[in-house]
Each structure stands twice: as structure tokens, then as C-alpha cells.
């Protein structure tokens, strides 16, 4: 908003209300996640610990999971069951999931014992926890669509428990088509959005310092407080 004819600056002179909703979204995004926060080129010294590596390891293995899943979706079950390359990519999909769950659990333990919800990071913690639950659901539906006796046995075991809590009507583990859609559409969508939100929150609030650690730049903490909506 510009002040016409005024020689002295008004307090809200710097506020820009132009551009409609796209301008408002842009200003909100820049205020909440300025480029130096979104893509920082340095990190506090306390990040120099192996325990801080497991977050990015989790995201990296998730990328392999999604990439191999996309190849499987393109080629189809005739390929991943019969051809040697198909079996190899199918195995990559399975073992990258095993690695994903492995490093995610260590990431969870590390953040739990660090009380990572401190410093206005509650939403970061909660999105991570829900990501974990969504990952269990995605892995579970993946086991259900292997098209072998293993998936048949797992679904046979799971149906009674799920029916007893009343969700069997729209989450029918014996319905292969429905479980495939949960596995390759709904749950990956939820997991992908939650992961993106989680990572953006980590960028916004900064990585959590160890308990009793001295923050190198107190401005970082205050900047995080200023960034509240």
C-alpha cells in the first residue's frame, strides 16, 4: 500500500496488499520460509552428530521406495513376477522399504530422547509421528498386494481384527483391488504430503538443539518465534 503525497513514512507503509490471493500467498511463503531458511548453507555445530543423519536417510530411502514403486507401476505384475530385472526392481522396492523403516525408527528414537518437540516444534513432531503411522499402513497394504501366499495369509489374519473395529467395509483387506489403490494412490499421497510438510517445518523451525545446548545465534530462536502465523 503506497501513501500518496505524504512526506513522512507511515508505520504500515511497507505493507504490500497488492496481487490478490496469489500475492498474499507469496508474501506469506516468503515471510514464513525465506530462501535462507528454506535452503540454508550452514547449520549449527551441534548438528555434527551421526544421530542427525537419520532424518535425511529416511527421506533418501523414501525416494528409492517411490521411484522403484513407479517403475513397478509402469511395467506391471507380469514383469515384476517373471523377468529377472522385474524381480530385481521388486526386491529393491522391498529392501528400500526395510531400510526406510529401519532408519525412520532410529530417527524417531533420536528425536524422542532429544525431546524434539521443544521450541515451537510440536507440529514437526506430530507430522513425523503421523508419517510413521502412514508408513506402517502403506507397508501393510504393500504386503497385502504381493500376490502370493504370504499376502493371502496376512490378509486372512488381519480381516477379523479390522472388521472388529468396524472399518472392514471401506478397508477390506481381502479386496485386492482396493488394497492396491490404498497402496499406490491414497497412502503414498498422504505420506508424500505429510513428509513435505514435515521437512518444511524442520526448515522453518530449524533442527532441534540437544538438551541444554547453547544456541549459537539466539536470533535463530527469536526468528522462529517471529515466524509464527
Amino acid at each position: 500500500m503506497s501513501s500518496s503525497g505524504a512526506s513522512s513514512a507511515q508505520p504500515d507503509e511497507g505493507l504490500d496488499h497488492s496481487g490478490g490471493w496469489t500475492g498474499a500467498v507469496r508474501r506469506y511463503a516468503l515471510r514464513t520460509l525465506p530462501p535462507e531458511k528454506l535452503l540454508p548453507d550452514s547449520q549449527p555445530a551441534y548438528m555434527a552428530s551421526w544421530i542427525y543423519v537419520f532424518g535425511v536417510l529416511t527421506v533418501s530411502s523414501l525416494v528409492v521406495v517411490v521411484a522403484t514403486g513407479c517403475v513397478l507401476a509402469l511395467e506391471g505384475p507380469g514383469w515384476w513376477h517373471a523377468s529377472s530385472v522385474g524381480k530385481y526392481v521388486n526386491s529393491l522396492h522391498l529392501w528400500s522399504v526395510e531400510l526406510f523403516m529401519f532408519v525412520m525408527v532410529i530417527h524417531l528414537w533420536g528425536k524422542f530422547f532429544m525431546a524434539a518437540w521443544r521450541g515451537r516444534r510440536a507440529m514437526t513432531w506430530m507430522t513425523g509421528a503421523v508419517c510413521f503411522l502412514a508408513s506402517i499402513g502403506t507397508a501393510f497394504t504393500g504386503y497385502l498386494v504381493q500376490q502370493n501366499f504370504d499376502s493371502q495369509w496376512i490378509s486372512g489374519q488381519a480381516k477379523d481384527g479390522l472388521n472388529s473395529v468396524g472399518i472392514g467395509a471401506w478397508f477390506n483387506v481381502l479386496d485386492f483391488g482396493q488394497m492396491l489403490m490404498w497402496h499406490i494412490v491414497l497412502l503414498p499421497l498422504v505420506l508424500g504430503l505429510l513428509t513435505a510438510w514435515h521437512v518444511l517445518l524442520v526448515r522453518r523451525r530449524g533442527i532441534v538443539p540437544p538438551i541444554d545446548a547453547v544456541t549459537p545465534h539466539p536470533g535463530e530462536q527469536s526468528a522462529a518465534s517471529e515466524a509464527r502465523p
Binding site: 548453507d41 550452514s42 547449520q43 549449527p44 555445530a45 548438528m47 555434527a48 552428530s49 551421526w50 544421530i51 543423519v53 537419520f54 529401519f102 525408527v105 532410529i106 528414537w109 533420536g110 549459537p216 545465534h217
Partner: protein
């Protein structure tokens, strides 16, 4: 657990063609495979906390 010579070096280190081994402890029942994975996770967690991280540039 037997490793067949026919598969040679390509054989899995653990023969999976039989029923799994389970550990029973009261009402707790867990497969040895899952127990091994949990043990490995604990080991890696402890190592990540205790092992020194290599020094790098660009940290403040």
C-alpha cells in the same frame, strides 16, 4: 538352518524355506528375524550417539 551347496555363493545366508523360529516369553512372542532387526536398530542407535562425527566445513 542349512545352506545348500547347490546354490553356492548365491544362496541366502539363512535358509528361508521352512517355518520361522520364534522366541516365547510369557505372552510375548516374536520371531527371531524381527528380534535381530530390533537388536540391530538398537546397536546402530547407540553407535550414532557415541561415535564421533567427522569434522566438516561450513558449520558455525
Amino acid at each position: 538352518m542349512t545352506v545348500t551347496r547347490a546354490h553356492g555363493a548365491l544362496a541366502a545366508p539363512i535358509d528361508l524355506n521352512h517355518t520361522g523360529h520364534y522366541v516365547h516369553w510369557g505372552v510375548v512372542q516374536i520371531s527371531v528375524a524381527n528380534l535381530v532387526v530390533i537388536g540391530l536398530m538398537v546397536l546402530v542407535f547407540v553407535a550414532a550417539v557415541l561415535l564421533p562425527f567427522p569434522k566438516g566445513r561450513g558449520r558455525r
